[in-house]
Amino acid sequence: MTTNEQDVIRVEGLTKVYSSGRNEVRALRGVDLRVKRGEMIAVMGTSGSGKSTLMNILGCLDSPTSGSYELEGVRVDGLSRNELADLRNRKLGFVFQGFNLLARTSALDNVELPLLYDRSGKKRDTRAMAREALRRVGLAEREDHHPSELSGGQQQRVAIARALVTEPALILADEPTGNLDTRTSLEIMALFQELNDAGITILLVTHEPDIAQYAKRIIVVRDGRIIRDEPVANRRRAADDLRDFREDAETEVAA
């Protein structure tokens, strides 16, 4: 039982079949996965490998055709739409490739949003919680800025703050650096590593092997199955790489 409580995610025999007309697409063909608290996992795979389907199911946005899924010891498969919505609200944080912030809405309001959908009925200072989350991602001074007034990296930080604010069991990041340049990507990965060091479980999808090297464990999905699942041998620190990157840039300018 103690091992079970340690598991944030426990998936067994997960399958997903999409049927459109006569065609059946078997997106997942039996996935087993366990994610322990405090892990940082990179999920890799080509498009059509089934990794997006896996992420959607793990993110409680979709239900599996068969197999079991436990999130923090709670069976998720078979829950209703509303129950899934509540799970997403309380236990999951999403970070997307395209940031997906509400336009013309201040950073603080964006971060506060998940708290407003909370149904636990607890009286909380949602404003103060949103400010604290923004401070954690280093954007305390930008709370009144709208997304259009922020750089891509800053927008992604706001999105991470929004994912953090509910203190979720798991943060799911779908290609979080896909729209960012090298330097900003390093900054975002440094932030993820920092949050992970603080004990937050992170699952991120990426197709860049460099980015995957910042995780503790890499999973490769192909044809609806996990074909590789191994720890990262020489885990890199994004903060170190960022420092090197900055020095290189300075020498270039000097030369």
Partner: protein, 405 residues
Amino acid sequence: MRASVLVKVAAQSILKNKMRTLLTMLGIVIGVGAVIIMVAIGQGAQLQIERQIANLGTNMLVVTPGAARQGGVSQGAGSFNRLTIADAEKLQREGTLLSAVSPVVFTRVQVIGGAGNWRTEVQGVSTSYQLIRDWNPSEGSFFAESDLQGRRKVAVLGATVAENLFPDGDAVGQSVQLRNVPFTVVGVLERKGQTATGTDQDDVILIPYTTMQTRLAGRSFIGQILASTSSPGDIPAAQEEIRAIMRESHRLGPADLDDFTVRNQNEIAEAAKGATEVMTALLAAIASVSLVVGGIGIMNIMLVSVTERTREIGIRMAIGARGSDVLTQFLVESVVMSLAGGIIGIGVGLGGATLIGKIAGWSTALPIGAVFLAVGFSAAVGIFFGFYPARKAARLDPIQALRYE
């Protein structure tokens, strides 16, 4: 989500598209405005009719010849189907609830005098007529009891007659000829205006009914008898009293039907009011159509809005919004929009009604009931026409919505 947050979020997204919001609201503004203007005009007409009926006289009862109920019932040979001076005098003597009684004898004549001649109606009445109709002279005086007794040739002119014969306003003391009989003008009546049916009440000459019978008509039959009570509460009892006296005067047996009709103002007023009420309802119904059209405008824009904001809906769902949260959000938006339109529409309606009243000279009433109805109705329009788009938003699949470009 708390209500205050919901309204704030709705207000924010409505304000993001000011022009579109304004045009959408315009439909409701026009709808509510039209309903209020139409009801204001209808109620104004009703009020005017009520005022005119009150103008006929205070607590007035009218006795006319002929039975009220004639449908299929034979009146019998030789039935006494006329009113006489004797009837009026008997009412005057025996009516305990009647404060004043006056016979009215009608005839139309060509009157000559002053600037020329004029065709008008001459009414032979008693001095009580002034009291019953609550109609005072603006110049000179009404004829006196002695004029009535002495069958004197004196006349009181209505304002229209006086204006036409004596444009310079010096009618009192002049002489006019009615069927070649010279009469002295003793007074001019104040203006009373038109009746609800458009008859000019001021186009009249009043003379003593005694003089009328000897000098002009030569008949003892009269068109109607007017009577009044001292308080409105006495009217139903007075009506019964008149009936009893009249039956006695006409020597009707218990089996005979009334050969006269006693009506009070309320009956006349109710008939006229009924007609204007139908008119008001009709006008309001026509105006409501534009309110429905405005509602369809809201539905249209909300559908566009749901499509445009598919991604926003996806984001909200991903971070934990339930379908009902999204539904509520869009419903609140459409209700806020239609309510705001309704409130502006009330302003437009009240302003428009006042303006039309001024320009067209129609009397309008400020319809407080219609104002509340319009607010309630516009909120209902928002809910009704906002529901379909809101439900469409609530049923979106979060994965599809997030992928929407």
